[in-house]
Symmetry: C2
Subunit: 427 residues, 2 copies
Amino acid sequence: MGLIVQKFGGSSVADAESIKRVAKRIVETRKAGNEVVVAVSAMGDTTDELLDLAHQVTLLPAPRELDMLLTAGERISMALLAMAIRSMGHDARSFTGSQAGMITDASHGAARIVDVTPGRVREALDDGAIAIVAGFQGFNRATGNITTLGRGGSDTTAVALAAALHAELCEIYTDVDGIYTADPRVVPRARPIPRITSEEMLELAAGGAKVLYIRAVEYARRHGVTLHVRSSFNNRTGTIVYNPPAPGLDENGAPVEEAVIAGVATDLGEAKITVVGVRDEPGKAAELFTVVARAGANIDMIVQNVSAAATGLTDISFTLPKGDAQAVLAAITAEQQRLGYLSLQHDDQIAKLALVGAGMRTNAGVSAQLFTALSEAGINIEMISTSEIRISVVTRADSIDAAVRAVHTAFGLDGEDEAVVYAGTGR
Amino acid sequence: MGLIVQKFGGSSVADAESIKRVAKRIVETRKAGNEVVVAVSAMGDTTDELLDLAHQVTLLPAPRELDMLLTAGERISMALLAMAIRSMGHDARSFTGSQAGMITDASHGAARIVDVTPGRVREALDDGAIAIVAGFQGFNRATGNITTLGRGGSDTTAVALAAALHAELCEIYTDVDGIYTADPRVVPRARPIPRITSEEMLELAAGGAKVLYIRAVEYARRHGVTLHVRSSFNNRTGTIVYNPPAPGLDENGAPVEEAVIAGVATDLGEAKITVVGVRDEPGKAAELFTVVARAGANIDMIVQNVSAAATGLTDISFTLPKGDAQAVLAAITAEQQRLGYLSLQHDDQIAKLALVGAGMRTNAGVSAQLFTALSEAGINIEMISTSEIRISVVTRADSIDAAVRAVHTAFGLDGEDEAVVYAGTGR
């Protein structure tokens, strides 16, 4: 019995009935003797409806005002949730991001948390109340302005509160049963992963797994918060995302045998740009990626071909979010003279597959096994990048489903039963 | 050229198009060289929709959470309005009640303003920006909770800001052309009143005129704020509600000839309760009205009959809002033994007519003229109450329209043309 932070996303509080169902679950946790803090997102489509209103008023809404507008969403859901809990005979108080002490930097739309001062939340708990906190929103001290944390911000709110209040556990309620070994819509025999390290989870999220957002996992890892990702539609145990004391040691510091592979993630949201005929000189790549960074893009994988000795020219390929491609192409084109390349290629029919597992560190054959599995399935690899616990490959978009199924089977991840996939999976 | 506060109600900002229209009007005021502060209500039916959601979740929403919920409404409208103004090339910043320094007592649902500290609003003006403030909402310092000001709260927000910022004028934009000599839906020849004292306005509002709420007029009167009530759908001058330096003196302190009658208000929202056969002893009325006050009702008019010498019994009648009648009847019935009356009568088919004018002070014949006009129109008077500048009478509900037309004509208030009545008049 300790302090538990619970996060409920928009699909879990889509209407009055869902809110009452979530309230009942929160009350059960309280009745079990826990202190409960809840981070809640805006109801269902509220955020999209508010965005639509903003765009009816102006094509380029001022960022400060857009944050002010969007934060009305959680204000509605949190007040309704607190009312529902109180109507069940338990004290509950709702707090805006600002009231809950979610202090951020001054940027709008994707502010970063710089401090958490949850004095009023702690006070509510001390009074025996359940604290309901608006997800996704914060407050900048210097400007006095309301900010928002960007995509997946409510997960970040929950994790940050769990860290600041030294919670025993941070439960992330979602519309799937936890983190799967692969997307169950593509791989029917995908299994929920019972336990995964935050390091592995980070690589899966970076590789395209959508259930948790990278920033929340990063925050949990940095602050030692244990996550439990589970469904708000049933009582099954989901996935525990934990921070081992050190790689290869269990919670008591004893050596453990880690599963070689935790799971496979795929990502269809990236495009590939190839800069053809760059002079293979020191500093050329740096010049290129400075131009890319100034265009505001986050690049993911980079591959530079070995240069042809005869010409002294090489090709540099990189992947980036599809939405950033046009801005980057324009920025590189504008600098063609200075960068001195021959031509530019843009390919948005690619997909990325990431194989993740902490056991890779001590298992040398994983790459070979991956490439063999893909080759036997007739799938061509276009780019490769690796970290200590991840191997990512780029393939054609239309062969990614076959690729993930082949890899899932080759690494013995297939479960005995087909996974149950809920409508609306994938938020 | 000075500081102008403008208040726009929900019907003026009902959708994106209305918001852009209002933004244009605000920008015009700014372009004319004024500093502009805007108090804005929630869009159209937003408040009703939020109330409906709350009642889907629980029949008795917690007042603190209900205020949290409802204040999402102005947050949406103020952010959209600020965006719209910015898209027209003018700086604008939206502020919640709390950010704008609307400090209230701790009560929820109908909090009273105890202090206004508009430092951030002043700062925005100093930076050349237009300040958009959420109407209807405030903040209690001791509890840290968000509060709401109750019915007509956005008017109060506007007036309180005008007082605190020493505004030259507070413009109340509504869906009618100003304050009329009578309700133009009932009296076709009713005229907009060009100028009216805040004292007269207070009596008209108390008498049932719906365009301005009593609390806002009281606040304006106490703080010397001049109001301009006008339509947001055209550019006509509306009604100036002003505070004369002293009764009967003009702004320069010189004696003025006041119009005898400013206007006629009617109210169909009251019921009459008669307590029959009360012993005519000192303290009996006090006992009765203590019981009524404990039931939470605001009573309006009171009439006590001359007691019949033979029995020593009298009847006491009073009027109160229809919605309070059942609770008061129950409270009096519960105390019948102690109060010692014979029977109770309840009548909800009454109407009140209030004739208001500062000139009454120096014109003795007004009552006689009023009673004659009603008598010639065949209308029976059931109760009478007077103040220095008002005479109120109670009639049957079904004769109130004939009564107000007769009085309007008798006091020479009829205009030459029929008033234009807009759809949706009466908010």
